[in-house]
Amino acid sequence: MLVLNQVSKNYSDVCALERCDLSIASGQTTVLIGPSGCGKSTILRLIIGLQIPDEGSIHFGGQLLEPARLPDLRQRMGYVIQDGGLFPHLSARDNAALMARHLGWSDERIATRISELAELTHFPTDALDRYPLQLSGGQQQRVSLIRALMLDPEVLLLDEPLGALDPMMRRDLEADLREIFTELGKTVLMVTHDLGEAAFFGDTIVLLRDGRIVQQGAMKQLLREPADDFVRRFIQAQRSPLETMETIR
């Protein structure tokens, strides 16, 4: 579905991604994880075309991702970022409808699609006419998800979609999201720095460090056979509250 071949990207002097090879399987959820600045968000931004690789190539569904094709290819991807990126001047409904309307969908078709997705994402229909500033963080993320799913994309790209939420909202949305992924059977590529989240969602986990992939595989594999000391330390660094209690005791 998505294939990165020897992709490198530099930001001025800092290397964000170095000769990265990655293949994302269809219909699965792949989680990119790693410490801050490891290049995980960069992979998403390269795929959606907000950044252009310095070297290497990206193929999407067999097609080479290049600037001329971007507008078309983007319509086949859905992109959700940490704080939703909703347009404050548009209501939830208009945010979701923006692209479909631009493509000339009929009002009826748009309305049907939005109520379908509102139901799927557990977004209250009566809140559709509110503006982003009038919605809670969790609701904003749901609208963002509706907007991303509007054109029924083949791939969902989620960049820390739960990052800005408080724990309770996070737990709610987490559960809903997994349900949605299962139900839709879409290819999902998600970025997080939270190992628990990665374990919860990921069919495949890709662990990155300093612009390189350190290990790729199922969560069990990472836990049982960490590729190196860094993987081990990264896993150990994320402790549960119970462990924390034990440590101070």
């Binding site: 909703l86 404050p88 009038q134």
Partner: protein, 500 residues
Amino acid sequence: MTRRIVISFLCGLLLAGNCFAADDRAIIVGSKNFTEGVVLGELIRAIAASTGATVVHRQALGGTRLVFNALVSGEIDIYAEYTGTLTHEIFAQNKPASNAELRDLLAEAGLVMSQSLGFRDNFALGMREPVAERLNIRRISDLRAHPELVFRFGTEFTERGDGWPGLRLHYGLPQLDVLGVEHDLAYRGLEAGDVDLTDLYTTDAEIAYYSLRTLEDDLGYFPPYEAVLLYRAELAQERPEVFAAILGMQGLIDEAQMIAMNSRVKLDGVQEVLVAADFLNENLGIEVVAKSSTRMERFWRYTRQHIALVAISLFAAILIAVPLGIAAARWRRLGHVILGVVGIAQTIPALALLVFMIPLFGIGAGPAVIALFIYSLLPIVRNTYTGLTTIPMQLLESAEALGLPAGARLRLVEAPLAAVSILGGIKTAAVINIGAATLGALIGAGGYGQPILAGIRLDDVGLILEGAVPAAGLAIVVQLLFEWTERAIVPRGLRVSTRA
């Protein structure tokens, strides 16, 4: 629907703007910006109108150079001038030795000079009688002994070939505290004692009123300034009957009569149009129906002119400045150039900008609109630029990631998000514009500046307020109008701030 209303509103304004654009068939009388010039202009207008011709008087257009150039370029057809001014100021390089030579020079420019109207209005220097008496000053030469005296001259006099520079050399005068001031204000300075000496026009009513001593020109510096009519030869040929009537003014006015007329306007506060009508009724037997305008009529006329100046220039500025702001935001390097250029345009003083327009666009509403247009650019360009460049990056990227092409992103996302800022820029431009447009009266554009200038000229606070109060009122109305527009244009989502 809204668009149609806006368009018809603007068309209406354009038509209103045309009210003071020249009608081809009307004879256009001009006048210099001092009382006698305006009175003579009114006399010319009334006589020409009595022949049935359509006549427009563009009052108090400006100084000598401006009005003369307006005549040469055909923006006016006739005005009253003085021989000394022509010989020593306008044709100073050619040094015409006689009136015949002067007429030849004028003919080359397509102009004709009439015979004398019957009086001279010479330059002279004047001081308050008691001061002159105390210092024992009777002749200009006597001034050499008093270098401490404060001289304030009419702005023109400080610069003119036949003014202060030549006078100083001719008499070897030592005074250093010499500045230009509006001619009529100099009298008030004399009265208040801030000024010791000013230039006078010998037909000024103030000479008698303030008991001024006119100093004797003992070394014969000042030339004679015979009042004459100066007009375009072609119009005299096309409209002989009108010009025959106008030339009836030759030899008609003696010095005492001119002083009396100036005095009625300046000291008694009678409108020039009435003074001229009375004079013609008495002396030419022309029955002039003097329409002195009521305060309300003038108010509407000035308002119409002022709004037209502001609206046309502002609308044009919006059409140009918003795209410029967008271009500046999109291509940052070009943006620096654009912001730099419009920023520099903004630093040109409004008065200077208006005067720069004259050689390019003549006088009247046209150049004033262009000057105001230039003035309106910066706030709109800058606010458009700022509005667009301060949109959070993640919103720009979200729009891009959706797959919207650049044009749609601008229209659907960027422009609405920048709307508050852009509208703020337009509001600033409008308010600046309303103030700056009062200066338009200096180049014959009309508007609220006209009563303000006339009020300064006539020392009439009421007249000044007739312009200043509505100008301030208009600024307030426009502010309110914009706040109302803001509610209509700025997306509701940007105005909600609480979570429901």
